[in-house]
Amino acid sequence: MKAKNSTNYPDRILEMYRTMSLIRAFEEIAEEAFDAGLVNGSIHQYIGEEAIGTAVCANLKRSDYILSNHRGHGHAIAKGADPEAMMKELLGREGGTSGGKGGSMHIADFSVGMLGANGVLADGLTMGVGAAQALVLREENAIVTVFVGDGTTNRGPFYEALNWAMIYKLPILFVCENNTYASSTATQTVTAGPGPVARAEAFGMPAFDVDGNDVCAVDEIARSLVEKIRNGHGPHFLHARTYRIKGHISRDKMLYRPEGETQAHLSNEPLLKCKEWLIENGVKQEEIDNIRNMAYVQIKEALEAAKKAPFPDKKLTYKDVQDLGSPYFGESS
């Protein structure tokens, strides 16, 4: 998502507001679709965390790679994946980003450098290391960004990846999205030490902390880190503090969450904060609201298009397994 005119800062932020609005609309309408029984699997929403993916990806080029996790809708939209193709994927239809093979947790769009959401925690980290090795080998001036949740920093591959990236000075930005929860567990209750920044620093990796609900702040730090990485200064770590406004998955009733906690975070949510900033910086409320409304219109259209799209032919079950020894329709059983 390139700014219309990056010399004009409010315009740049307004453009990010557009992306955040698209993500928000996508997540809300995806939930409606889920509740209507249109989505085959479950969905992990990015509501409340939109500023991070949006502002980080605003500083990336199309040729840069990102690797995402189970909560990947926002990352995909921010990197430029087509929300209509994504909605088709959620509904398991033809024309979906993965042709209906993967669903919500496996959204990928290699054409925009989105190398995949992931159903297995922390695997994006180690694969990100490999993607960066590949960029070095191919002598490309591109970088890799890996998004990782707070809870996932307790898996071993997190440490293997950080260590490896550091010793080979790989062009990677690690973005830890700390929404304070890992499913139903408050991450703090199962996490030792002062937090992700200290963990990254233990490897000698430059690590920074940012208010992940402040799109301007994320934009500013992401811009400087991406520039450093592009200029050969090795991996960097960004810890973005945020809050998961919805349940772990959309049908999660959040019985584990103290009453009032979600409510208390609503005044700090990134779209609201961004809107306030835009108004303070001279953008008309009407223009802002229009952008938000247009996002809902676009995503509603995406859902309608997805509903009209046919289901993939069952024969496609046997496609894309492997070249040698692939099964064929009607085989086995």
Partner: protein
């Protein structure tokens, strides 16, 4: 002692709770065990934290290697851990600790130590679960010397098997089916009643053909057998319950009677456990067979997401009926 109707999730929770009451060295560890007070996957542990406290219901970080490794260490050090890895797909993160350590320690160290642990990892296609949340990997562990593998099909199995698994001195892989967690069945409240590992049950007697199955496929096979009875085909359905060791005696007895065997499984058919059963029966009962043994299972593809493809992938009651008819013709 009475029977109560309850879900698999509740049955397995009661089984675990009874064993924890009986033996203070039984404990459980896994992600979200003490926090998940709502939702389907929470039912298995609901309320246990209140009764047993956090020394015995251990809410772990997202650290699969250490969940499994810690269970192994705690087992050799004299306790009986129940490690919950949630899904077979995530358990792959900890295959090393299970296969290289838990399964080998007794043998490798010349019988000095035992590894009395249970590792829970759910299998089966869960609607829309796709490639990384719907796999059935029982064959991986059946193939591994040192491991016991069980897979309940009914709520009574779920309870009886978790109890036996906890009491066993071997490492036991307990594979529940995600789609069965909320299925109901009659379950005894007798804390002394167990399901013996290695003993199968006849879910429905029959004389023309034997279906051997386990987990959710046993339920589908039973359904198929009932439907096909209208065509005057009498199918005997065996629910294995325990996959290693498996109840060869009961299977042999049944196949000797019917002369026909169909193995139904939800896992990928190629190199699945059905291949082992088929080969074994063919090797040992060849002269009793009226026709060659058949298998049914999933195609050798990852689990697809979209409904149309997922349905193509699934082994259904209808497909079992078709196969039975093919075998009888």
């Amino acid at each position: 002692m009475t029977n109560n109707k309850m879900t698999h999730a509740s049955a397995v929770r009661e089984g675990l709770a009874e064993e924890m009451r009986r033996d203070p060295l039984v404990w459980a560890l896994g992600e979200d065990l003490s926090t998940a007070h709502g939702g389907t996957s929470a039912d298995q542990y609901r309320g246990l934290i209140d009764e047993f406290g956090e020394k015995r219901i251990v809410n772990t970080p997202i650290s699969e290697n250490t969940i499994m490794g810690a269970a192994v260490g705690a087992a050799v050090a004299g306790t009986r851990p129940v490690a919950d890895l949630r899904m077979a797909d995530f358990a792959m993160c900890a295959v090393d600790e299970l296969v290289n350590q838990a399964a080998k320690i007794r043998y490798m160290f010349g019988g000095q130590a035992r590894v009395p642990l249970v590792v829970r990892q759910a299998i089966g296609v869960r609607k829309g679960g796709a490639a990384q949340h719907s796999q059935s990997t029982e064959a991986w562990y059946i193939h591994t010397p040192g491991l016991v593998v069980v897979a309940p099909a009914t709520a009574a199995d779920a309870k009886g098997l978790i109890k036996s698994a906890i009491r066993a001195d071997d490492p036991v892989v307990y594979m529940e089916h995600k789609d069965l967690w909320m299925a109901e069945g009659e379950v005894t409240d007798d804390p002394g009643e167990l399901v013996e590992i290695g003993k199968a049950t006849v879910m429905k007697p029959g004389s023309d053909l034997t279906i051997v199955s386990w987990s959710k496929m046993a339920i589908h096979s039973l359904e198929a057998a009932k439907i096909i009875e209208e065509d005057n085909i009498s199918v005997e359905v065996i629910n294995l319950r325990s996959l290693w060791p498996w109840d060869k005696n009961l299977v042999y007895k049944s196949v000797s009677k019917t002369g026909r065997l169909l193995v139904t499984q939800e896992a990928v058919q190629v190199a699945g456990f059905g291949a082992e059963i088929s080969a074994d029966v063919t090797e040992n009962l060849n002269d009793q067979l009226k026709t060659h043994v058949r298998r049914i299972g999933a195609p050798r593809t990852p689990v697809p997401y979209a409904e149309t493809m997922e349905n193509e992938y699934r082994v259904t009651t209808e497909r079992i009926i078709e196969k039975v008819k093919e075998l009888m013709s």
